[in-house]
C-alpha cells in the first residue's frame, strides 16, 4: 500500500466524519440528510476513493450512530456492497454523468439494507422505512451529483489519489 494512498484515504475518511458532524445541522428544510454521503460520488471518478469513504462511514457510525455498533455491520455493509456493485458497473459505463445517475439510483435502492436494520432493531415497518430513508439518500445524492461534477472540473479527482 503506497503511503500517499494511505494518507489520502485517511484524510478523506476524516473529512467525511467532519462534514457529517458539522454541515449536517444546516438542514435544508424539513428533510434531514447526511451531506457527507455525496462522497460516494467520488468513486465515479476513481474507484480508489472507496477505502476512504468506507472508513469514514465506519467511524461516523461508530462514534455517532444512535443505534450503536449494529450500524457498523449494516451501514458499512451497505456502503461496501453498493460501491462494489457500482465499481463493477463502472467497468462498462465510461460517461461520468451516466455513472453519477447510476450511483444515485443504486444507493437509493440499496437503502433497503438500512431499512432492514431499523426494522430489526426498532421494529419499524420495513416498506415505509425504506421509502423514508431512501428518499433522504436520493435527495443528497441527486443534489450532490452536479456539485461533484462541478468540483471535478476544478480539482480533477482522478489524479488526486
Amino acid at each position: 500500500m503506497k503511503v500517499k494512498f494511505l494518507a489520502t484515504s485517511a484524510i478523506i475518511a476524516a473529512l467525511y466524519i467532519a462534514i457529517t458532524m458539522l454541515v449536517a445541522p444546516i438542514s435544508f428544510g424539513q428533510v434531514q440528510f447526511r451531506i457527507a454521503e455525496i462522497f460516494n460520488h467520488l468513486i465515479a471518478f476513481n474507484p480508489r476513493f472507496m477505502l476512504g469513504v468506507v472508513l469514514g462511514v465506519f467511524f461516523s457510525n461508530f462514534l455517532m450512530s444512535s443505534v450503536g455498533p449494529i450500524d457498523l455491520i449494516f451501514g458499512v455493509g451497505h456502503t461496501i456492497l453498493t460501491l462494489g456493485i457500482f465499481i463493477f458497473i463502472c467497468k462498462f459505463v465510461k460517461n461520468i454523468w451516466a455513472r453519477l445517475v447510476i450511483n444515485t439510483t443504486l444507493f437509493t435502492f440499496t437503502m433497503f439494507i438500512i431499512a432492514a436494520q431499523l426494522n430489526l432493531v426498532l421494529d419499524f415497518p420495513f416498506w415505509e422505512t425504506w421509502l423514508f430513508v431512501a428518499f433522504g439518500e436520493f435527495v443528497v445524492l441527486a443534489v450532490g451529483a452536479p456539485i461533484m461534477y462541478t468540483l471535478n472540473k476544478r480539482l480533477d479527482f482522478k489524479k488526486l489519489i
Binding site: 500500500m1 500517499k4 473529512l15 462514534l63 450503536g68 415497518p125 456539485i147
Partner: protein, 264 residues
C-alpha cells in the same frame, strides 16, 4: 467544537475506564447480540439491572447519558407510539372510540424502547470511557486474525488513527471556510433551496483542496521519516489484559445463559 466528539470521551479512573479496550469492545459487541435474547418481563428486568450495574461501575454521571439520548428520544417515542397503535393482540386496555390500545401493543412498545435504550447506554459507555486511540488499538488487535486473509490490518488501524487525529483539524477548517464565505455574503441558512445549494460549492472547493494538500504533506512527511508499513514496528502504548477483563466477559456469558433459560 471539541465537545462534539472528543467531549464524548470523559477521562476517569473507574472500573470501566481501567478495562482493556479489547475486552470492552468484545463485551459491547456480544451485548448487542445478547440483548435480543430477552423477550419477557423477567429477562428484560435482568438486562436492565445489568445495564444499571455497568453504569454505576463506569461512574459516568447520568446527566451525560441522558444528554446523549436527546437525538434519539424522538425515535424512541415514535417506536412506542407505533406499537401502541399498530399491534392488535390481547385484551383492550384503553378504548378511545376511534382507536383501541391493546395489552400486547403496550408490552411490545415498552420492550422495544427498553432494548433500544440499553443499546444506546452500553455503546455510549464504551465511547465515554475509552479514548478513540485505545479503541483503534483494541480494534487492531481484535482484527489481527484477518491478516491471514490478507486484510491490511496494520494499515487500516493507522488510517483510523490518522482520521481521528485530523477530524478536529478539518472541522476547524470547515468552520473557518464557512465563516469566511459568510463574511463574503454567502448564506447557507436562508433563501430558496437552489441558492443554498449553490452556496455549498464555494464551501467545498477550498475544503477539498486543503484536505488533499494536507494528505500530500502527510505522505511526504511519512516517507521522509522512513515509514515502511507494520513489519517490525514496536508500540508505545501496550495493552494489558487483567483479571477484571476476564471477569466482565464471564459475567456477560453467565447473564446470556440465564436469559436463554428464562426466556419465554
Amino acid at each position: 467544537m471539541e465537545k462534539m466528539i472528543f467531549g464524548r470521551y470523559i477521562p476517569g479512573n473507574s472500573f470501566v475506564h481501567k478495562l482493556d479496550p479489547r475486552s470492552k469492545l468484545l463485551f459491547v459487541f456480544a451485548f448487542i447480540i445478547v440483548v435480543f435474547f430477552a423477550n419477557n418481563t423477567l429477562t428484560y428486568g435482568i438486562l436492565l439491572a445489568f445495564t444499571l450495574i455497568v453504569i454505576l461501575l463506569s461512574k459516568i454521571r447520568l446527566y451525560f447519558l441522558i444528554n446523549g439520548l436527546k437525538p434519539v428520544i424522538f425515535l424512541m417515542l415514535f417506536t412506542l407510539i407505533l406499537h401502541l397503535f399498530m399491534t392488535r393482540e390481547g385484551p383492550v386496555l384503553v378504548d378511545l372510540g376511534f382507536m383501541k390500545i391493546y395489552e400486547e401493543g403496550l408490552r411490545q412498545g415498552v420492550y422495544i424502547s427498553m432494548r433500544f435504550l440499553m443499546l444506546v447506554f452500553m455503546t455510549s459507555i464504551l465511547t465515554l470511557t475509552t479514548s478513540p486511540i485505545s479503541i483503534t488499538d483494541g480494534l487492531e488487535v481484535l482484527l489481527n486474525p484477518f491478516k491471514k486473509i490478507k486484510l491490511p490490518v496494520h494499515e487500516l488501524a493507522l488510517m483510523m488513527s490518522i482520521s481521528l487525529r485530523f477530524i478536529p483539524t478539518l472541522m476547524d477548517e470547515t468552520d473557518k471556510i464557512m465563516k469566511a464565505q459568510m463574511a463574503r455574503g454567502s448564506d447557507l441558512s436562508a433563501g430558496p433551496i437552489k441558492d443554498r445549494l449553490k452556496a455549498v460549492v464555494p464551501l467545498l472547493v477550498p475544503l477539498f483542496i486543503s484536505a488533499f494538500k494536507r494528505a500530500e504533506d502527510l505522505a511526504t512527511a511519512m516517507e521522509v521519516r522512513g515509514y515502511r508499513g507494520g513489519e517490525g514496528r514496536t508500540k508505545y502504548r501496550l495493552l494489558k489484559w487483567h483479571a477484571k477483563d476476564t471477569i466482565i466477559l464471564v459475567a456477560l456469558v453467565i447473564m446470556a445463559i440465564l436469559l436463554w433459560m428464562l426466556r419465554g
